[in-house]
């Protein structure tokens, strides 16, 4: 006889369990963790290069850099001064998951990190479903993309806490309208903290660095 058997189990419960374990481990050492997401080419690696260059002597920064193929991003970050950089090559998966991050973290000494960046695979769709144990998602868009990006990928912008608009040095060379992009983003998520920067010119980066220092201090339980 065919019975209906109630299960009520989250599909991503395995990933969620691993993510919770990561979160707990990072909490123990009060490490601020940020999951960087964007379309391919928005500037995640450039932002991390700049951040490492500016803050490497102020904060102990670790980076897990994920890509479908190559360790190019991780290598760029080591060249930029990253001392704790671990690559993840997914070999096909379009997003990082908690299992991959767990394995990468096993290679890092937690006692000596203030700030962990996880550079996700360039993709605004799939990574939104996978909790990596991070404190916050930081979403990037650039001024060479459409300013309706947040409306087109609402799940990702909804789940992010910060939006970085990169390539402000190229405003005017496309139809990207910064105020419209801000409005669109805030329609999807009224709580987004927004930074406007250019990794190439350096504009706007000071505010980003100050925010990172402040957030890392808050996480450590120290007055900023």
């Amino acid at each position: 006889m065919n019975n209906r058997i109630a299960i009520e189990k989250k599909v991503l419960s395995a990933n969620d369990r691993l993510a919770a374990a990561i979160r707990a481990k990072l909490e123990e050492q009060r490490i601020l963790s940020l999951n960087l997401v964007s379309s391919p080419g928005s500037g995640k690696t450039s932002l991390l290069e700049r951040t490492l260059g500016a803050l490497n002597s102020t904060l102990r920064i670790a980076v897990i850099a994920g890509d479908v193929q190559t360790e190019n991003d991780a290598n760029r970050l080591v060249k930029a001064g990253g001392r704790l950089v671990r690559p993840i090559v997914t070999g096909g998966a379009c997003h990082l998951d908690a299992a991959m991050v767990t394995r990468a973290l096993d290679q890092l000494d937690f006692g000596h990190i203030d700030l962990l960046f996880i550079e996700n695979v360039g993709n605004l769709v799939c990574p939104s479903s996978y909790d990596l144990g991070e404190d916050m998602k930081v979403a990037l868009i650039s001024t060479t993309e459409g300013d309706d990006k947040p409306l087109k990928y609402p799940a990702m912008f909804r789940r992010s806490s910060v939006l970085v608009i990169n390539k402000t040095d190229l405003v005017g060379l496309s139809d990207f309208d910064v105020p419209r992009a801000r409005d669109n983003a805030l329609t999807i998520n009224g709580k987004l903290r927004i930074f406007e920067i250019s990794c190439r010119s350096g504009d706007g980066l000071q505010a980003w660095y100050e925010w990172l220092i402040e957030q890392a201090a808050i996480k450590k339980g120290r007055p900023s």
């Binding site: 991503l12 799940a155 909804r158």
Partner: protein, 113 residues
Amino acid sequence: MHELRIAQAVIDIVESEITRRRLKKITAVGVRVGALSGVHPDALSFSFEAATMETPLAGAKLVLEYLPAKAKCRTCGRPFEVEEFVFLCSSCGSGDVEVTQGEELDVVYLVGE
């Protein structure tokens, strides 16, 4: 394909329940998919069929329950349906809202013996 990994996660749960409950044959799997879960129902159905081909679960039907996005405004307290992913209160326009439905991605039930 992303939904293939989700389908595989569903299959993993079903297989673990089959073992745990000593089930012999599954004819249907009920899955709840929220509008904000990032999962496309059609792609999930297709992936499930592909992933169960030539396995003991072949032929089991994936029954999807799709849940629209709903939220509650923290400013005026009113609940509303989220249209077109616009997370602004339909009564007062505030952006300070809390999602109450739509992020679900659950295996709800199995039909079998």
